[in-house]
């Protein structure tokens, strides 16, 4: 009994803090989720009806027409196809390339490990900038080319450092015993080191995949002329500017086809684009949390 009373005797300030903190967290969650929820509501509501406004928590006139329209738009389908392709191919290539590089610079026996590391770390701080890079890619024939999504961004010094930090933590004895059995670097990398690096590989793969899924600037800059190489985000961006350019709702009313408006179509496209990410990321949490904490460790 006595214990209970002492526990209850927390100060007023303490109680106020707990209350305000809880309130703040709820507010934070609402501000984070509400815009996404509202987009979902608009995407499921009759487009012309949405223009009346006042649509917040629940659709007034349910419809799947917006999604139907999106799924019949050729440019969005091409964009989705290219985006999936670049995400899969680009992630695998980047992961392989960064992992091998990290393996090389984490070998204690390698004479030039410091120089090679430095060679890449410098690229984190200095780069040629937009125009020289653009002209170079043009010269290399990487414009209007799918490979521009894959090749140039393959190596990232940051991801390399994250993997390297992890590999350095693997005891040398693993490699030494394999060497005694006559294993070369290919075997040590693929059979000994890589299986131990699965968590950090997952982290880097996740970062790369999100980057590929969300990128649009390279599509606009290098592949604008080829509509077969467009990406989902770039098409989404074009939808956005078409919506904002129609400043008044009267105008968008005129452009509305039946019950579908540019705004409602964009909402549906936005929902479809974020769907894979929203569904997957909660399950991959532990990977990016460890990845970030490793990456944050001082170089």
């Amino acid at each position: 009994m006595k214990r209970a009373t002492t526990r209850k005797k927390t100060s007023v300030g303490e109680k106020v803090f707990v209350f305000l903190n809880g309130f703040f967290m709820i507010l934070f969650v609402i501000i984070t989720l509400y815009p996404v929820w509202n987009t979902l509501v608009i995407s499921l509501n009759n487009g012309t009806d949405s223009l009346r406004g006042g649509l917040y928590l629940w659709p007034r006139m349910w419809t799947l027409k917006n999604f139907n329209t999106v799924l019949h738009k050729k440019n969005l389908l091409v964009g989705a196809y290219v985006t999936v392709a670049r995400t899969i191919i680009g992630t695998l290539m980047a992961l392989g390339a960064n992992a091998i590089l990290a393996y090389i610079v984490s070998r204690k026996r390698f004479l030039f490990k410091r120089q090679l590391s430095l060679f890449w770390v410098i690229t984190m701080y200095v780069n040629g900038g937009l125009i020289p890079t653009f002209l170079l890619f043009k010269g290399l024939g990487l414009t209007n080319n799918f490979l521009v999504y894959i090749i140039p961004g393959m190596i990232s010094a940051f991801y390399m450092l994250v993997i390297r930090t992890f590999m350095v933590g693997i005891p040398d004895s693993f490699e030494e015993s394999a060497q005694l059995d006559g294993a070369g670097d290919v075997v040590i990398f693929t059979k000994i080191i890589s299986p131990l690096c699965k968590p950090v590989y997952a982290t880097v793969a996740l970062f790369c995949a999100v980057g590929h899924w969300n990128s649009w600037f390279d599509a606009m800059l290098y592949n604008r002329m080829n509509s077969n190489l467009t990406t989902l985000q770039y098409e989404l961006m074009k939808l956005l500017s078409s919506v904002t350019n129609q400043s008044t709702s009267v105008e968008s009313m005129k452009n509305a086809v039946g019950t579908v408006t540019p705004t409602s179509v964009r909402a549906a496209a936005t929902i479809l684009t974020m769907l894979p990410i929203v569904c997957l990321y909660p399950f991959l949490q532990r990977y990016f949390v460890t990845g970030l904490t490793i990456g944050g460790v001082k170089e």
């Binding site: 984070t32 969300n214 709702s249 974020m274």
Partner: protein, 295 residues
């Protein structure tokens, strides 16, 4: 020596690749000192020294662009930093473990959305019929709907908010990890000595994560000039371009759209050099203060 061969061979591939994609563009800086014409090519264009830089610095447009980049870079840096630290500390004070987990998971979500999606959502929320105007009207803070994107005075604030919304949860991850690493005995001892919650935050948590804060501040200081492309490009419009355009947008506009490669490159070179100087200064300051350094 024999065990070097494979590694050397592999390294060679990486050096060639890095040379082409990361170091060769640096040679393109030469264009900033030329009057580059595609037909004359890289080696036969007229060399004009600092002419393009002079052109930049007499252009009011460029000076404004520098101001915008610096202002938004600094505002975003400070605001996102404070938001992440405050959020991490408050989240850590949450008693319910389950609640903590749920809030944290939700807080990551915006980080994974592209800027295209985030700016699209922002456009909806701030539009004439959007939730923000509706709330402001309902509470009689406004008499008629306000078009936020038509007034230059709101733009920097909107950009800062967009950054906070997108990255607070993500940036907090690293602080939360640092807070968890603090010795719990310290908190217990402080509690026995009668330290309240604020005192514990003030004298244990904050000093405990100070090294992390400084390292991240250093890493991000060098990015101040890089913090301005996607949001500003996607949210900007003709009405606010005097405050929305940044160096990167200037480079894109003059270099790619107008085809003045030399001017665009000069602006890019200016940005890179200033960024490197900022990194070195930040690093030097940390060194003098006896804190951890980047290199």
């Amino acid at each position: 020596m024999k065990r070097q061969k494979v590694l050397l061979l592999w390294s060679l591939v990486y050096v060639i690749y890095g040379f082409i994609f990361c170091y060769l563009p640096l040679a393109g800086w030469l264009m900033a000192f030329e009057n580059y014409k595609p037909k004359d090519g890289f080696f036969h264009s007229q060399f004009i020294g600092l002419g393009k830089f002079k052109q930049l610095f007499v252009d009011d447009g460029f000076l404004r662009v520098i101001r915008n980049t610096l202002a938004m870079g600094v505002i975003n840096l400070v605001v996102t930093f404070v938001a992440a630290i405050v959020f991490a500390i408050l989240l850590n004070e949450l008693k319910s473990q389950g609640g903590k987990k749920v809030v944290q998971t939700i807080s990551y979500l915006p980080h994974f959305l592209s800027w295209i999606i985030v700016t699209g959502i922002l456009h909806d929320a701030l539009s004439g019929t959007g939730i923000v105007n509706d709330l402001l009207l309902r509470f009689h803070l406004l008499k008629e709907p306000l078009n936020f994107f038509a007034h230059p005075k709101y733009f920097w604030g909107i950009v800062a908010f967009a950054n906070v919304w997108k990255e607070t949860g993500w940036n907090a991850i690293i602080y939360l990890a640092a807070i968890v690493a603090i010795d719990t005995n310290l908190y217990e001892a402080a509690a026995i000595d009668g330290a309240g919650r604020w005192a514990r935050i003030r004298y244990i948590t904050l000093p405990g994560i100070k090294p992390t804060i400084i390292i991240l501040l250093l890493m991000n200081a060098g990015n101040v000039l890089n913090a301005g492309f996607e949001v500003q490009y996607l949210l900007g419009n003709g009405l606010v371009q005097s405050v929305s355009q940044t160096i990167d947008i200037y480079v894109l506009k003059w270099g790619i759209s107008q085809g003045d490669y030399s001017l665009g490159t000069a602006a890019g070179v200016f940005k890179s050099v200033v960024s490197i100087v900022i990194i070195l200064i930040a690093n030097g300051m940390a060194k003098r203060a006896g804190e951890e350094r980047l290199f």
